[in-house]
């Protein structure tokens, strides 16, 4: 187990590092000039040159990379150009908002999708199940920005009951959460349904039934219990993806999370901020993945980490 953990951590570290390097190069190769975005349209060429010098962008790429690595080791990700504050702090300030949205969305998804999947498995292949199936597929098929704008139109414009933008009160969480959850619903509910159908048809359920266990216990305790690993995997994967920023939904709802920060950082070519965002989100996503993997043996004692993939 410790050996496995060490190997996984090492690999994850390498992944994060390579990702950061890619981003470092990409942002510098992309057209656009942070100095121009920083100084505005009236800046003169001399101004821009001075600002580039201040940002250290006048040095050769390889040297910039060296400085970046050196600072990275000391946990310094540079100063955000547009916020004029340590880039890492700016990202960490925004992180709670994205985590909040991701947690809420995953929680809503799980609370709706798991019972729905169980129900679908018990009603497998009935007309109603088909209906539910088609409905979740529809939810998944709508462009998220469109779903968001539609929800906004209905619940903030036609019946102004929920705030349209930002997170100033708890009610502001509702629309973005629902928008994200609608997307995830199909995936999780169908997974539960598939696993449950398999489980419910297994011999051990038949045996348990013959021994007089109640249908409820059979369904929730035994069948669903055996679906734990794939379910946790799917939910964990989705959660990790959400942490990477639900960019579009955050933009639509003016959510002050990392996703909208990324768009802003791109618009101002705020290199340190872009790099810090990537570092934080990638680390977090990989950590969640790792936790999910570590949870397997807890859920299913047959699983041994580090043996057969």
């Amino acid at each position: 187990m410790p050996k496995y953990l060490a190997r996984r951590l090492g690999q994850s570290l390498l992944t994060v590092f390579l990702t950061l390097t890619t981003v470092f190069l990409l942002v510098r190769l992309a057209p656009g000039d942070p100095a121009a975005a920083y100084a505005g349209p009236t800046a003169t060429t001399a101004d821009l040159a001075r600002i580039r010098g201040e940002f250290g962008l006048d040095q050769p790429l390889i040297q910039q990379y060296g400085i970046f690595l050196r600072d990275l080791l000391t946990g310094n990700l540079g100063t955000s150009y547009s916020f004029r504050a340590p880039a890492l702090d700016v990202v960490l300030d925004r992180m709670p908002y994205t985590i909040t949205l991701a947690v809420a969305a995953i929680a809503v998804t799980a609370v709706v999708a798991v019972p729905l999947g169980v129900w679908m498995a018990r009603r497998a292949d009935s007309k109603r199940e088909l209906g539910a199936n088609v409905l979740t597929i529809t939810g998944q098929s709508m462009p998220d920005f469109w779903t968001g704008v539609m929800l906004l139109t209905v619940f903030a414009v036609l019946l102004p009951v929920l705030p349209a933008s930002g997170f100033t009160s708890w009610s502001g969480l509702v629309l973005p959460t629902v928008t994200v959850a609608i997307l995830q619903l199909a995936l999780i509910s169908r997974l539960v349904r598939r696993e449950m159908t398999t489980a419910l048809n297994s011999p051990y359920i038949t045996v348990a039934r013959s021994r007089g266990f109640s249908e409820r216990a059979l369904t929730w305790r035994y069948a669903l219990g055996n679906s734990g690993v794939p379910l946790i995997t799917a939910i964990g994967t989705r959660f990790a993806a959400l942490l990477n920023g639900v960019v579009v939904v955050e933009v639509v709802f003016g959510w002050p999370g990392v996703g909208s920060l990324v768009v802003r950082a791109l618009e101002t070519r705020d290199y340190p901020l872009i790099q810090a965002t990537v570092l934080v989100t990638a680390t977090l996503a990989i950590l969640v993945q790792l936790l999910v993997d570590l949870a397997y043996p807890l859920l299913d004692p047959r699983v041994r980490l580090g043996k057969a993939a």
């Binding site: 057209p31 656009g32 000039d33 121009a36 920083y38 100084a39 349209p41 009236t42 800046a43 003169t44 060429t45 001399a46 101004d47 600002i51 201040e54 916020f83 004029r84 504050a85 300030d93 925004r94 709670p96 908002y97 985590i99 947690v103 809420a104 799980a110 798991v114 906004l152 414009v157 705030p163 349209a164 933008s165 930002g166 997170f167 100033t168 708890w170 297994s202 011999p203 051990y204 359920i205 045996v207 348990a208 929730w220 305790r221 069948a223 669903l224 219990g225 055996n226 734990g228 003016g254 002050p256 909208s260 618009e267 101002t268 070519r269 807890l298 859920l299 299913d300 004692p301 047959r302």
Partner: protein, 540 residues
């Protein structure tokens, strides 16, 4: 999640392979419970941390929805129209631009030109910062120095030169310039005064000032601020307890939030948003003329033989543009077609001509000038001005209608439009550009746009390559003219000269639009897109 998902496979499931370990140091169930509790903690911590205190604004709270993020309450770098309102509620300058673009005194009780290159200033006696410390002459001197040391400041471009301070008494000093700067009293409205010891050549994150409000809570990262009354304010006590400043990036969200009463004031509206908000119950839309010039500016770096290097071709093309349709249909009537080379609301601006729509004439003229097969590439950056994309797409259609093959290239913010503007990237013919004018002076705008010289052009700093030596000479002469009447006359002449070079395919000045809930009273929106926050009150 599910209540006890683990038990199925351990012992009770008869069908499962019997692979359970003989003993476990910790039962899996315990671990799972811990995990669940920890997970819940992790999940709830951020929720608790960032839950806002209130939803809808309370009776004593005014909520402003800005469409750009206010990174700090300092203006050394962060200069956009709407921010001025909030910045000046906290930090004040010696003067401000009042109604009719006239300078008003704020921290100075006297600000007069003593001689062409020196201004005599006396500070008010009763002014203190919100922490109780007095305002000194050193604070002014330090402020000027710090503004001068900041890299890439938008404001520095407005000053022909920064004045130096010569202290003449406890509260009196002289502002010296090398050449006459007749509009120094207007320009000084942009220099915000803060205690010298705390001033730095960068944007200040703190909010110590003399204004009617002080900062209670600031989150520059999210662009959110809460301001409370400054108990030591020297002027009349502000009417509102708390002002909340929010950053709402999406225009449609601002409209929706104002409708529902979540926001009290949204400024710098697009014409479409104003159109949607006009006539709604509980909402008032304020309109004034704008000081921003939005132009479809020609590329003045075309080689000699190119049709667009010929003013007659540039003029001929303007006949293709249906200005009325653009103003009324695309911009919903919330803009004025330019009648001069700078917005007419500016002090010193004069009407020099008008654009006429006559596609037949455009076609005929273009053919007779040998530019019948003209190709035009229009570039602009998203959000350069309100309804930019609609205007551009409409213009494209109008150009096509006179037989000009036009194409569009839109740049996203952060892209490299700057290198294109400077003529270092691709070739283009017309650029969509907006030019603000925070001083309210025609002169600053004229110099910025048309004051290009060969020297500036060597570093590609002449505005779109516009270098007309005669115009530049006339502008410099006007800029140092101390006599007001004479300066106005000189400015009028040079504006006509510029107009005759046909710098723009079309131009307009968007009106300044602001919408507020009707409980917000006492607001007088100035042409420079700002208002005095201390005069605003809430009713109902």
């Amino acid at each position: 999640m599910t209540p006890t998902p683990q038990s199925a496979s351990s012992g009770a499931s008869p069908g499962a392979p019997a692979g359970a370990p003989p003993r476990e140091p910790l039962s899996r169930r315990t671990l799972l419970r811990w995990g669940a509790a920890g997970g819940a903690g992790v999940a709830l911590a951020p929720l608790a941390a960032c839950a806002g205190p209130t939803g809808a604004p309370g009776p004593g709270t005014l909520t402003l929805g800005l469409n750009r993020s206010l990174v700090s309450l300092d203006n050394k770098l962060n200069q956009f129209d709407a921010a001025v309102t909030v910045q000046r509620a906290v930090r004040q300058a010696l003067t401000r631009i009042g109604p009719g673009m006239k300078p008003r005194l704020v921290l100075a009780e006297r600000f007069e030109m003593a001689e062409p290159t020196a201004w005599a200033v006396r500070l008010r006696e009763d002014i203190r910062y919100s922490d109780g410390s007095p305002v000194t002459v050193e604070d002014v001197a330090t402020a000027l120095r710090m503004y001068g040391q900041v890299n890439g400041s938008f404001l520095l471009g407005l000053f022909p030169e920064l004045p130096t301070v010569e202290k003449t008494g406890a509260r009196t000093f002289l502002l010296h310039t090398r050449k006459p700067v007749p509009v120094l009293d207007r320009l000084m409205a942009n220099i915000h005064i803060t205690p010298a010891a705390a001033n730095k050549p960068e944007e200040l994150q703190s909010g110590l000032g003399t204004g009617p409000y002080q900062v209670l809570k600031a989150n520059g990262g999210a662009g959110e601020y809460t301001l409370g009354r400054n108990p030591r304010y020297w002027g009349p006590r502000p009417r509102i307890d708390t002002v909340r400043v929010r950053f709402v990036p999406e225009e449609s969200s601002r409209v929706v939030a104002l409708r529902s009463g979540e926001l009290d004031v949204v400024d710098t509206l697009t014409p479409d948003s104003a159109d949607q908000l006009t006539g709604l119950p509980g909402v008032e839309v304020e309109v004034t003329s704008g000081v921003r010039m939005c132009q479809l500016f020609y590329n003045f770096r075309k080689p000699k033989g190119h049709p667009l290097a010929d003013p007659r071709v540039r003029q001929a093309l303007t006949h293709a543009i249906d200005g009325d349709a653009l103003i009324n249909d695309v911009l919903n009537g919330s803009a004025e077609e330019a009648g001069g080379v700078v917005p007419l609301a500016l002090e010193g601006a004069v009407r020099t001509g008008s654009y006429t729509y006559d596609p037949g004439k455009a076609r005929a003229l273009l053919t007779s000038l040998g530019a019948g097969d003209l190709k035009v590439k229009v570039i602009w950056e998203s959000g350069e001005f309100a309804a930019d994309t609609s205007v551009m797409e409409a213009v494209l259609d109008m150009l096509k209608a006179v037989g000009v093959r036009a194409s569009l290239q839109q740049f996203e913010p952060g892209g490299d439009i700057l290198t294109w503007r400077q003529g270092r990237a691709g070739d283009w013919d017309v650029i969509g550009n907006g030019y603000g004018s925070p001083t309210g002076q025609a002169l600053t705008t004229l110099q910025g746009m048309y004051g290009g010289t060969a020297a500036k052009e060597r570093t590609r700093d002449a505005f779109m390559g516009y270098v007309v030596p005669g115009v530049e000479r006339q502008l410099s002469a006007a800029a140092t003219e101390v006599d007001d009447a004479e300066r106005t006359r000189k400015l009028a002449t040079v504006q006509q000269a510029i107009w005759d070079t046909w710098p723009s395919l079309w131009a307009f000045a968007p009106k300044t639009l602001l919408a507020r809930r009707d409980r917000v009273r006492g607001m007088s929106l100035l042409t420079i897109n700002s208002y005095d926050l201390s005069a605003v009150r809430l009713e109902g």
